[in-house]
Point group: C2
Chain length 215, copies 2
DNA sequence: TAGATTGTTAATCGATTAACAATC
DNA sequence: TAGATTGTTAATCGATTAACAATC
């Protein structure tokens, strides 16, 4: 996808959604052009880094002018693949699964949740934000027949590995894992991204107790 | 907190919760000692890195033996500050806020959610996992009188900044931010950690569309 | 003791920053 | 054109890896 097909480091990938968010905000504020200096200052980066980052993907600026906010925003959407629609299923209709189904931000970014599954008979058949909860036993057929891009795992750790293997077998492309463990599918091409909420609050705790004073 | 009071890089801090999780798993499996080589292999790191990481905090191993799993686990809990209890309030009783209140993992790690707030009159007074939703107007008094460590923001972006300022004013120590923006409180000592769920799914999307084949 | 494995120093690698020629 | 700002190369900085003496 990147013009010069060089290696893109994780550090760069981590910044891409941030650029996307800041550019969105600039658009909302009616700002149409921005320099690497100005953008970097808002984001707490250096101007060099901003230019280096963008140039991994081909350079979207113009000397003497800077960057056009709208087209840079579009380019980054393309790089991230969020210019395309994604079909998403959520496995685990507990509180977190239901919260994701109700989260408007995902729809906005093209992530369409088209089904919600659970193994609990008490949940199957209930309706969450317009989706009727289906039984886990229906996952295999559903994935095979509905061009599912991403499976979201909001199930307990103990169930994550077999479920990931099932999804892999059905030909899913990506897994968004909320179980508190590092999922791995050796030999598989399925992309796994984990949202480790408890890692995040532990880092907060670390900083609370090892405060480096910024005042 | 660290023995040799040297600077701890973000890269190290990010690995600490992972070490904690892997050690937890070793305990669950009845493994009582482990070498840096074995631990690094399980985690996809190098043995050198594992030893360097631990030695930032003083070195918990023994030559010829390795590390005692249980005591290393305890040491990392101390470093992370999760050997202590934290009083947590959740602001925003929508789906995500409710999901967090119901999430058993936080209690397990010592994060006690002691109150839940919302501004919506339809939610105020309802009960979520034993907690009665309180009005936003009660936040100030509550924080001042209840030794609140952490405020969790599960509110829309537009409300995050004023709420963060209010919490800062009331003397809160940390904010766990779920709003899709980078919160900043210039001049404040409040520690802010953001859990950017949409950044995470965007990174997944990036990898789906720029796949580096691992098969 | 001999073997294993740490703690730690030195070497390497890669990411960030600085500098500046190219150019709009 | 002159001024501004990029794209890109070179320099620096910091994190990771390698190596090995210390020591259990």
């Amino acid at each position: 996808m990147n013009n010069r097909n060089d290696y893109i480091s994780d550090a760069v990938i981590r910044r891409l959604p941030r650029y996307y968010r800041y550019l969105e905000e600039l658009i909302d504020n009616g700002i149409t052009r921005i320099s690497s200096g100005e953008l970097s200052e808002r984001m707490g980066l250096t101007a060099s880094q901003v230019r280096q980052d963008f140039n991994h993907f081909g350079g979207f600026g113009q000397q003497g002018y800077g960057y056009n906010v709208e087209s840079l925003h579009e380019e980054i959407a393309k790089i991230l693949g969020i210019d395309k629609l994604h079909n998403v299923i959520v496995i685990g209709a507990g509180h977190l699964g239901q919260a994701l189904v109700n989260y408007p931000n995902f729809i906005k970014r093209g992530f369409h949740i088209i089904a919600l599954f659970d193994k609990d008979p008490a949940l199957i058949g209930t309706v969450v934000n317009g989706l009727t909860v289906m039984a886990d036993s229906e996952i295999e057929d559903f994935v095979k027949n509905n061009n599912v891009d991403i499976g979201v795992l909001t199930i307990p750790k103990s169930e994550a590995v077999p479920m990931a293997k099932l999804l892999d077998k059905c030909g899913i492309k990506g897994i968004w894992n909320f179980a508190s463990m590092d999922l791995e599918l050796p030999g598989s091409n399925v992309v796994i991204e984990s949202a480790h909420l408890s890692d995040s609050i532990m880092r907060l705790s670390y900083r609370l107790h090892n405060q480096t004073d910024h005042s």
